[in-house]
């Protein structure tokens, strides 16, 4: 289980209705449904992934998040999750607002581009960082909107989004310690719990 998913699990109440934007093969909703009695719905565009999710018994809607979420009524979900997907959408700010319209609460996770490895990579190699976690080159990456922890919080402030809690994941124990005190430099993954 990915560390960010474990953190999200702890924030979702049993019995909740959860919408997962970009649910992939449904791994997270599957875990969630097994661990606490939630009713999950996923949105995914990749049909191979949808098939895997169907095999797990997860409810998935084939839909392109970039084409809007207007088919989801206001406050029709308790929690709307977007795990490692905000960097692939065309308009992250609009999606964030939609999440908080549809759900009472939103949970977002993303790779922190302010991490010191990214900075060193760019500073010394002079190219967009390529790593084990982000294996793409700039021209073929689906990740078109990278941001840092600082950038994200700026956006939340500008859109009057309340950050209810956050959690930062570093690489190991030591970096987790550092990422808690200096997230923008040490967090590999940032996790935010938001409300309108």
């Amino acid at each position: 289980m990915r560390q960010d998913l474990t953190q999200i699990l702890s924030w979702i109440k049993s019995g909740s209705r959860v919408l997962d934007l970009g649910c992939g093969d449904g791994e997270f909703l599957d875990e969630l449904e097994k661990k606490s009695a939630i009713q999950g719905v996923g949105i995914e565009i990749n049909q191979e992934d949808i098939l895997l999710a169907i095999r797990r018994g997860i409810s998935v809607i084939q839909q392109d998040v970039d084409e809007g979420l207007s088919n989801f009524p206001d406050l029709s979900f308790d929690t709307v999750v977007m795990a490692h997907a905000i960097q692939v959408v065309h308009f992250p700010d609009k999606v964030l607002m939609e999440m908080l319209r549809i759900g009472k609460e939103g949970i977002v996770t993303f790779p922190n581009f302010g991490h010191w490895r990214c900075r060193i990579y760019l500073a010394f190699r002079g190219g967009m960082p390529v790593s084990r976690f982000l294996p793409y080159d700039w021209y073929n990456t689906p990740n078109i909107h990278f941001c840092t922890v600082k950038d994200f919080e700026k956006l939340c402030a500008a859109r009057h989004i309340t950050i209810k809690s956050k959690s930062m994941i570093g690489g190991g124990k030591l970096s987790s310690f550092f990422s808690a005190i200096w997230p923008n430099l040490f967090a590999i993954t940032a996790i935010y719990r938001l409300s309108a």
């Binding site: 009713q39 018994g57 809607i61 084939q62 029709s76």
Partner: protein, 381 residues
């Protein structure tokens, strides 16, 4: 991919008949004192009677969904690609029931049956049937077969409408609803095409106002024309271009006489029309298209599909096809939207297919995988 499509058959199947005595109050106000349903079953009902799947047919379908009727039978049932051992609706797991709907012309009580009062064929006096009536008769068949709840009810097009009606009329008797290339109600364009088809039938002098059976005539030309119109709407522009293009079946533009020129598409439509008119009853066709026109899932629920679906307890799989313009993906999305708003469990897949509305009958790999994956996930214990 070919190997997953090439699987075995349910073999030779025998249609069965179930007679139901006792009044059936139809939606139109008419009461049928008794009726008969013809059906086929594939696979075996398990001990808990929990693995039954109902397949609902579309406009021109019937009970013969899979297998063959005898050794020499060259044509398998209409959904043979999907029903059988190891197929998406796996008969090693499920007990599949497929019936000819009331008002049909393949053995179940309908316009060609004898009216017990007049001892003549019902003909055009057969009462108007609605989707809700079909579901009621299917529920009686379920009672007869001692099936309390269907593991799944599955149908495409008009069949999908029956599936949705099941979900709201008998919420506790259906655990999964598979709604393929369907809609909450017909559009004006859909009704228009149906009306043209009906007019084609009625315009045939042999139709004799619907009394053709007692006149010993059959409105073959009208029925063939109706089918040709329908057929065009089941295919996509691209599918027709690919299949026929502007190829000529006979004649040539080189000669001075253009009388003998026939395009492949003309020949194909004539063949389809002729074949159909030999197999289908005109009054039945009118009745079925009327059932399509009248269907409106939300009518009894303040025209609100969300309210209609609110009573449903089952999970839903909704499937549409990109080039289907008769029941386009946006019609399926309306279903999905209402289900989401009603807080139901729904899965939606839009299959890329060139074949138009007809795609729902065909073994298109991604569609095949979708039904297969969904059916595998259904518990039958």
């Amino acid at each position: 991919m070919v190997e997953i499509l090439k699987t075995s058959s349910v073999g030779i199947v025998k249609p069965q008949a179930a007679k139901f005595e006792g009044p059936l109050n139809l939606e139109c106000g008419f009461t049928l004192d008794s009726f008969e349903l013809v059906y086929e079953t594939y696979g075996r009902l398990n001990k808990n009677r929990s693995n039954a799947v109902l397949v609902c047919h579309a406009l021109s379908g019937n009970h013969h969904a899979a297998g063959f009727h005898n050794e020499d039978d060259k044509r398998a049932g209409w959904w043979d690609e999907y029903i059988g051992p190891g197929k998406p609706i796996d008969t090693e797991k499920f007990y599949v029931v497929s019936l000819n709907n009331l008002g049909g012309c393949h053995g179940s009580t309908g316009p060609i049956s004898e009216n017990p009062t007049t001892l003549k064929p019902w003909g055009n006096n057969f009462p108007s049937i609605r989707v809700k009536d079909w579901v009621e008769t299917q529920a009686r068949l379920a009672d007869r077969l001692e099936i309390d709840s269907w593991a799944a009810v599955i149908g495409g097009s008009l069949g999908g409408m029956q599936v949705m009606q099941w979900a709201i009329d008998h919420p506790s008797r259906i655990r999964n609803a598979v709604v393929i290339a369907s809609a909450l109600k017909l559009s004006a364009q859909n009704i228009a095409f149906n009306e043209i088809a009906r007019q084609a039938i009625r315009a045939d002098p042999k139709f004799a106002g619907g009394n053709y059976l007692s006149m010993k005539s059959i409105p073959e030309e009208g029925l063939a024309l109706a089918r040709m119109i329908g057929h065009v709407t089941y295919l996509s522009d691209d599918a027709m271009a690919l299949k026929f293009g502007r190829e000529l079946r006979s004649g040539s533009f080189d000669s001075n006489f253009s009388d003998g020129i026939e395009f492949q598409v003309e020949s194909y439509l004539k063949y389809q029309g002729k074949r159909f008119s030999g197999q289908f009853d005109a009054n039945s066709y009118i009745l079925m298209t009327r059932a399509l026109d009248f269907f409106d899932l939300a009518r009894n629920y303040n025209d609100n599909a969300v309210e209609a679906f609110s009573v449903a307890e089952c999970k839903f799989l909704v499937v549409s096809f990109t080039t289907d313009w008769r029941f386009s993906p946006s019609r399926s999305q309306e279903i999905v939207e209402a289900l989401i708003a009603a807080k139901k469990n729904v899965t939606y897949m839009e299959i890329k297919a060139d074949e138009g509305h007809d795609a729902f009958l065909l073994p298109i790999p991604r569609y095949f995988q979708t039904i297969s994956a969904y059916m595998k996930g259904i518990e039958t214990n």
